[in-house]
Symmetry: C2
Subunit: 184 residues, 2 copies
DNA sequence: TTTATAATATATCAAGCCGATATATTAAAT
DNA sequence: ATTTAATATATCGGCTTGATATATTATAAA
């Protein structure tokens, strides 16, 4: 098997096996929810994917009428069907594509010698703060009632964020000079 | 500034500031070279990018005639120009886009409960072996004469690979049951 | 209270990227 | 001698991304 990429449709099904959701809510799962640190999909992929899934009978659409008074576009809540569940299981059975990591900040650090020291320092410290924040956030989450697979992934995310943040804390002086001015 | 994505053109310039290269060689830098663990670009981006860079005068093309006998398509070696160097420095001065990580394997582990145990185990152990291998490989590299920025990034890659591999070694039993059969 | 801002929600589109594929040569291995 | 792997350039359809448009509701501020 050619190890095809996990497409937007499968990603949506993954969210929907955990419960009904709107397109907007699905997006949030990838932006700040449980998938935030290892997957991403935008609206431009989600809405077409949901339309296709509905076409194929893998999800059903529950259009909630808006209190009957406004002419607002109806909110659409999506629910996975039995066929959808089977399709999702089948997608999980395929060999996964290799990880794809794209870190522009790392690219900058690679070329540290070509950069303005003040800019490098600002970029470095922002990045480090972000990783530290993400690690701290993951620690605040309650493990109560969360399935083992999700806790495992959460723990792996924490290990990853902490490893990077620790490395950057310990090795900061290798790239960042000690300037006298504290200004940015 | 809107923190635009590092595009294929900038990525190519980055390789070329380190020395002349063909499109094929540029690709290898991202496939198995120093950028392998934090960036990726395919031929479908590289060749058009190089054509545009040549158009804009940011790179020059050295067409090496093939020993004068065959009608083989000439090998094209690209060299960064002075304007190209300036454009690259300018690109590094922009605020970097946030990291994008896409791990289909992590997505599978998240939904471990829906997976066939044997398949999960195979995927898990392949992934772990890959991360362990990458870490070991980075350790074999000679730091002699390599600029600090590149060594720093190499070290960060090592920290990352090792953190994930260690976590997966220590927490394997949380996802993977101890089956009696050793078969795959 | 009114106003402004942020959050919720759906949808589209151009620009660009990715994976696959085609083609051809040369080096290495069997 | 023959097959396989590596070198090398190039294109293309399909998909994703980021930005944008639109509209409503909740929240915060003045």
């Amino acid at each position: 098997m050619p190890a095809t990429d996990m497409d937007a449709k499968t990603l949506c099904l993954g969210v929907l096996v955990m419960g009904d959701a709107t397109g907007y809510e699905i997006r949030k799962m990838f932006e700040e929810g449980p998938f935030a640190h290892f997957q991403d999909v935008g609206y431009g992929s989600i809405y077409p994917a949901l339309a296709k899934l509905a076409d194929e009978g893998l999800v059903s659409v529950i259009e909630v009428p808006e209190n009957g008074h406004s002419d607002r576009r109806d909110k659409k809540t999506y629910r996975i069907t039995e066929a959808g569940q089977r399709a999702f299981i089948a997608a999980l059975a395929k060999p996964p594509a290799p990880d794809k990591i794209r870190s522009d900040t790392t690219f900058l650090m690679f070329f540290a010698e070509f950069m303005d020291p003040a800019h490098l320092r600002a970029v470095y410290d922002d990045y480090l703060a972000y990783y530290r924040d993400r690690a701290e956030f993951l620690k605040t989450l309650d493990p109560e009632g969360v399935p083992e697979g999700r806790l495992f992934v959460r723990g792996m995310g924490l290990a990853f964020y902490e490893a990077v943040a620790d490395y950057m804390t310990e090795n900061r002086s290798r790239l960042i000079g000690e300037e006298a001015d504290a200004a940015d």
